[in-house]
Subunit: 139 residues, 2 copies
């Protein structure tokens, strides 16, 4: 059962093939993600990973590891603070902030570049999971 203060981490990275597959399935073909000649003219110098692909690690972990299968996503905030690049190790870090009524929890979610520890994406999720989050009643 999830409890306040509990944390979870996952190390992950994306390849350019992942970025291309994400562009195909979502239709998000913004050249900043796909076109190196375009990207070199921007502030980023090289293609960046879709913010929403990076953030999908939150959905992945919340739905498969922490708390786990059966999680229902209720909300997510996302601040894309730094660009994410392919072939770079990132760490997703989750910290339970509050157990909410009806088997829900508010969880801090962030992605850090593994080498520098710099936060690239920050936010907060609320998930419901009847098996894995205690069912407290609103007082």
């Amino acid at each position: 059962m999830l409890s306040v203060g509990q944390t979870h981490q996952l190390t992950f990275s994306f390849t350019q093939a992942d970025v291309e597959a994400f562009a195909r399935v979502t239709g998000d073909t913004n050249p900043i993600h796909l076109d190196a000649e375009y990207a070199v003219q921007t502030v980023f110098r090289r293609p960046i990973v879709h913010g929403m692909l990076g953030a999908s690690v939150f959905s992945r972990v919340l739905g498969t590891e922490f708390p786990g299968a059966g999680s229902i996503y209720l909300s997510q905030t996302l601040a894309f603070q730094q660009p994410m690049y392919v072939d770079t190790a990132y760490e997703a870090v989750f910290t339970v902030q509050e157990i909410l009524p009806r088997s829900s929890a508010r969880i801090e979610t962030k992605i850090m570049e593994q080498e520098s520890g710099k936060v690239v994406t920050a936010g907060e999720a609320v998930v419901m999971n009847r098996q894995l989050i205690p069912n407290t009643k609103r007082s």
Copy 2:
């Protein structure tokens, strides 16, 4: 150039093949999205689309149509208010709320089920686009 009050709409839908492709690229294999026998035992009765796949329509539109190519995603809030299903027509609706300093804009983003008009996902994006959003200075 983007201006306050401007709106944009896109009709879209997902197939189960899209959901499976999204699960592969993101690693989000929560059975609620993939396993009909599992889903029938839940409140949803049948597999639901990943909330983050639904929300990727915001990234797609902001980066390719409205305002368009070159947009840099700064933030997004997401409230997953109702489940999304495959083979169902949805409408993504964008309304510019505020032009912010440094070629950025705050844009209301929502997804409605096309037939009922019911909002399934609500939120707000902030994007920067040096070509397509006016560069106002903070006073």
